[in-house]
């Protein structure tokens, strides 16, 4: 199985021909500290290699490898296969950043199925800390700016139940980027498009609070608020824009449709199934989320998802276990089912090594 070395800062996947490398022994001997093409000092050939990457002249000296684009150091363990990286999409305020942070924290310890984060790749943990620093400093998370995908890029090496490991990588993009994806200029968002090109599966966040609002409006025979209508429009726009790209690539992309802020829902008897203490199985949650989306007037959205993606996993999660009212306190957070969407996507992966 061919793999590539991922540069999560540039969103490029490298084979041997596009990597640079240095040998510490060569540098010491020549006094020239300049990365050379990997093929000239470490040999060509596909990844993964049977042994470590070593210098041709000094076979016991491991090579340091670098991205040819940004010249940043890369981890030789940062290998991705054809399934690429995981895109985390969703509208503004749908809870993407919180979800990603809580997943990365929860997986530091092995899940029930034995999946856990072995190590952060590059500066992922520092980036994550910066992204959620508002929680620590102000008890509140800040909105994400519509950057290009040059910051808020994360990659972690995950150990699978088979003890093999793989790399998962995300970019946390602002909801505005996703909802405006159809008209987003590639000139200003080159890295974001590279990230999209690498995406092989997707977590799509749907704001549970807006779903609740839609259900209540329908029950009362009222009219949707502008915010609720906007959320519905954006969700469909995001799925349509990504579906176009998926179809253009003629690939099969798995998707986890995730209802966030499930704590707002599980207080209602109809949706108490989402509570972590309920003990519902993945299949039951899957069916319940579909019912929820239908009840909230999201049939068109479900049809669009089912048309474009396969397989589709419907899940409901709560990043904090309660409403995100400030001040948030770390010790009071009770994440519920947050790992399930990612584990569902990883379930079908072939262990690479």
């Amino acid at each position: 199985m061919t793999m590539w070395v991922l540069c999560k800062d540039c969103w490029l996947r490298h084979d041997a021909s596009t990597l640079l490398a240095t040998c510490k022994q060569c540098v010491a001997n020549t006094k020239i500290e300049r990365p050379e093409p990997l093929v000239t000092i470490g040999g060509a050939g596909p990844f993964p290699r049977p042994g470590p990457l070593v210098c041709k002249k000094h076979p016991t000296e491991p090579l340091d490898i670098y991205c040819r684009e940004c010249r940043g150091a890369l981890s030789p363990r940062s290998l991705i296969g054809s399934e690429g990286v995981v895109a985390l999409a969703g509208d503004t305020l749908s809870g993407k950043t919180s979800l990603l942070w809580v997943i990365s924290e929860r997986l530091r310890q092995a899940s029930a199925s034995g999946v856990y984060i072995r190590a952060a790749i590059g500066n992922s943990d520092q980036e994550m800390k910066r992204a959620v620093r508002g929680i620590f400093s102000r008890g509140q998370i800040a909105p994400t700016q519509p950057h290009d995908a040059d910051i808020r890029n994360y990659a972690w090496e995950i150990v699978l139940p088979s003890s093999a490991s793989t790399v998962i990588a995300f970019h946390d993009a602002a909801g505005e980027l996703w909802s405006g994806l159809a008209t987003l200029p590639r000139t200003s968002y080159e890295m974001f498009y590279r990230y999209l090109d690498l995406a092989g599966s997707m977590v799509f966040a749907i704001d549970g609070e807006r779903l609740m609002e839609s259900i209540e409006t329908a029950a009362n025979g009222g009219v949707s608020t502008p915010e609720a209508r906007e959320a519905q429009t954006h969700e469909l726009a995001i799925v349509d824009a990504i579906a176009r790209r998926v179809r253009a690539r003629s690939v099969r992309m798995p998707l986890a449709a995730v209802v966030t802020k499930a704590d707002r829902l599980w207080q209602r008897p109809a949706w108490s199934l989402f509570h972590p203490g309920n003990g519902a199985t993945s299949e039951e949650i899957h069916a319940a989320v579909r019912d929820l989306l239908l009840a909230a007037g999201r049939k068109t959205l479900m049809d669009a998802i089912d048309d474009a993606f396969s397989p589709v996993h419907y899940r409901a999660v709560s990043a904090f276990g309660h409403a995100a009212e400030p001040p948030l306190r770390i010790e009071a957070l009770r994440p519920a089912r947050v790992e399930e969407p990612l584990l569902a996507l990883l379930d079908g992966r072939v262990p690479p090594r």
Binding site: S17, E69, T92, L93, A142, P143, I151, E176, E227
Partner: protein, 558 residues
């Protein structure tokens, strides 16, 4: 002093009403909105920039840029205020506010400094005192008081900043200019006046060069600027700029602040679009300041016949001449001396031969004449050398002695070294290239043609390579490799032309420069350089590659 209308552009996470879209959005400002007057392409770039600004802490972040437009430029100062508003979800969001002024072409104004002054005097405390849901509207209402700005021209007195601060700012701003690498540079305190001082110091960069510059303070990662200045963090400027840049800036600041001449014409010069062009301009201006007390003698004292009593002395004391200039003078003098000696020896040898033919028995009597002639020629050489080194300064001088430095280096003369006129070397290169192309057009052996050209006119190819890679960062892999190849060509040691072809095609293709050809649009590059070959194999078609390179060279040596 000019009174100029201020144009505004405002973005925020807060919505002005429930019908406005959520998230990071433009807040329309009606008649004050930059959308009214600013060209669409500038607005597009500005909006993209504003979307990526995030303050690093709880203080306002600043970004300063200048945008090019058909009728001049737009100076732009963006202030990004954290924690001022909340979005619909109650999350603490940002307000980013760009102030722009239109600057007519040919002006060098303290525009960024004026905009910073206005932005700093904005009553942000009054906005913070409002209820969160009213702050955005309050901010917009207060903006109505900002309609025009009084902007002064750049003068040396306006640049009266501590010399070290000015030098450090310029090194930081120029070290990665146009690369948008967001390097972090530490500057000396005080922090309170940092942004105002930086905006003034920025005015020391020529306006045309400012168009490629973008800098900031108080900014988090992820924003496309060249440099982020700070007082408490970052690298010292000397660590981000090369020794050559640090030296250049030091000399530039000396000329700027110490020269009695008006330097503002250089700041206005539209041709100075790069640091190297500024360096060229500086080199033309520099001898005046580098030679210390030396000033060219007045016109009447140049005539030596009128003042024979004065002891002849070098007009430039050696002790005051820079080492490089001295070495160059010495080299030129020795070359001329050698050449003249050879010439004289040949002439005397010929004369002796003729004299011997006329009077075979007569002894040669040329010793004293030869010595006299040599002494005269050497004296001439000294004078000619001195005159040559002064020529660029002296040429445009007017009799009234009021010439400015800028006038001594008019825009059209800055690049005159690049203008092929009747330079015999250039003519020889053109002829060689024409011959190679004519042969290859006949026999279709373009690869052989390139080989011949490299073997016989390597300098022509290596010069072209150097120019082709000029736009790449100095440490770019392809630039480094091509520079090494150019040296091999110069030394006549190039063994294989495969790599030079690959890399040059990669550079010429207009696609990603990564040393690979798989992304090259063959039809596009063929059409761009008028290639007639029918081959489409750009990866292995050596003749096709060679033809592209030769056609490209022909464009360079028309």
């Amino acid at each position: 002093m000019a009174e100029v209308e201020i144009l505004h552009r405002l973005f925020s996470h807060a919505a002005r009403d429930e019908w406005a879209e959520s998230g990071w959005r433009n807040v329309p400002l009606d008649e004050r909105d930059a959308r009214r007057d600013v060209p669409a392409e500038v607005l597009h770039e500005l909006d993209g920039l504003m979307a990526k600004i995030v303050p690093a802490g709880d203080d306002t972040a600043w970004v300063v840029r200048r945008f090019a437009a058909a009728n001049g430029t737009y100076a732009c100062v963006i202030a990004c205020h954290p924690g001022l508003v909340a979005d619909r979800g109650g999350r603490i969001g940002l307000v980013s506010h760009a102030r722009l002024v239109h600057v007519p072409a040919g002006q060098a104004w303290l525009d960024a400094a004026a905009l910073v002054e206005i932005a700093e005097s904005f009553a942000i405390a009054d906005v913070r005192a409002m209820r969160p849901e009213l702050r955005l509207q309050g901010y917009v209402d207060l903006l109505s008081e900002e309609s025009t700005a009084s902007i002064r021209e750049v003068t040396l007195s306006e640049l009266d900043l501590p010399r070290a601060f000015l030098s450090d700012m310029l090194v930081g701003a120029l070290a990665r200019i146009s690369r948008r690498e967001q390097i972090r540079v530490a500057l000396p305190p005080p922090e309170q006046t940092l942004i105002a001082d930086l905006a003034r110091a920025w005015a020391a960069i020529p306006v045309a060069l400012q168009l490629t510059s973008a800098w900031a303070t108080g900014l988090a990662d992820g924003c496309p600027v060249d440099v982020v200045f700070a007082v408490s963090s970052g690298k010292p400027p000397r660590d981000v700029g090369s020794p050559a840049l640090v030296d250049f800036v030091s000399r530039y600041v000396s000329v700027l602040l110490d020269s009695p001449h008006d330097f503002s014409a250089v700041l206005r010069n539209p041709e100075i679009t790069s640091v190297s062009k500024l360096n060229d301009a500086l080199q033309r201006a520099e001898p005046l300041s580098r030679i210390g007390d030396f000033t060219p003698p007045p016109a009447e004292s140049v005539d030596m016949k009128k003042d024979r009593k004065k002891a002849p002395q070098s007009p430039i004391p050696h002790a005051e001449i820079d080492g490089d200039i001295h070495t160059e003078l010495d080299r030129q003098f020795r070359a001329m001396e050698t050449s003249l000696r050879t010439y004289i020896d040949q002439r005397f040898a010929a004369m002796e031969a003729r004299a011997t033919q006329r009077e075979p028995k007569a002894a040669p009597t040329w010793t004293w004449q030869r010595g006299l002639a040599l002494a005269g020629i050497i004296a001439m050489t000294v004078l000619v050398t001195w005159a040559l080194t002064r020529k660029p300064l002296r040429e445009p001088r007017r009799d009234d002695e009021t010439t400015t430095i800028a006038e001594t280096m008019p825009a059209e003369t800055i690049d005159d070294a690049e203008t092929p006129t009747t330079d015999p070397r250039m003519e020889a290169r053109k002829a060689a290239l024409d011959k190679v192309i004519a042969t290859a057009e006949n026999d279709r052996k373009w690869g052989e043609g390139l080989k011949t050209l490299i073997a016989e006119n390597g300098a022509m190819v290596s010069d072209a390579i150097a120019e082709a890679t000029k736009g790449l960062p100095e440490n770019h892999t392809v630039r480094v490799e091509l520079s090494a190849i150019a040296k091999l060509i110069d030394d006549g040691k190039l063994q294989s032309r495969d790599r030079v072809r690959d890399l040059l095609i990669d550079v010429l293709s207009g696609r990603r420069i990564d040393g690979r050809l798989d992304d090259v649009d063959v039809d596009e590059i063929k059409s761009r350089y008028g290639v007639k070959s029918e081959s489409k194999d750009i990866v292995k078609g050596f003749d096709l590659q060679s033809e592209i390179i030769l056609r490209w060279l022909k464009e360079k040596y028309p």
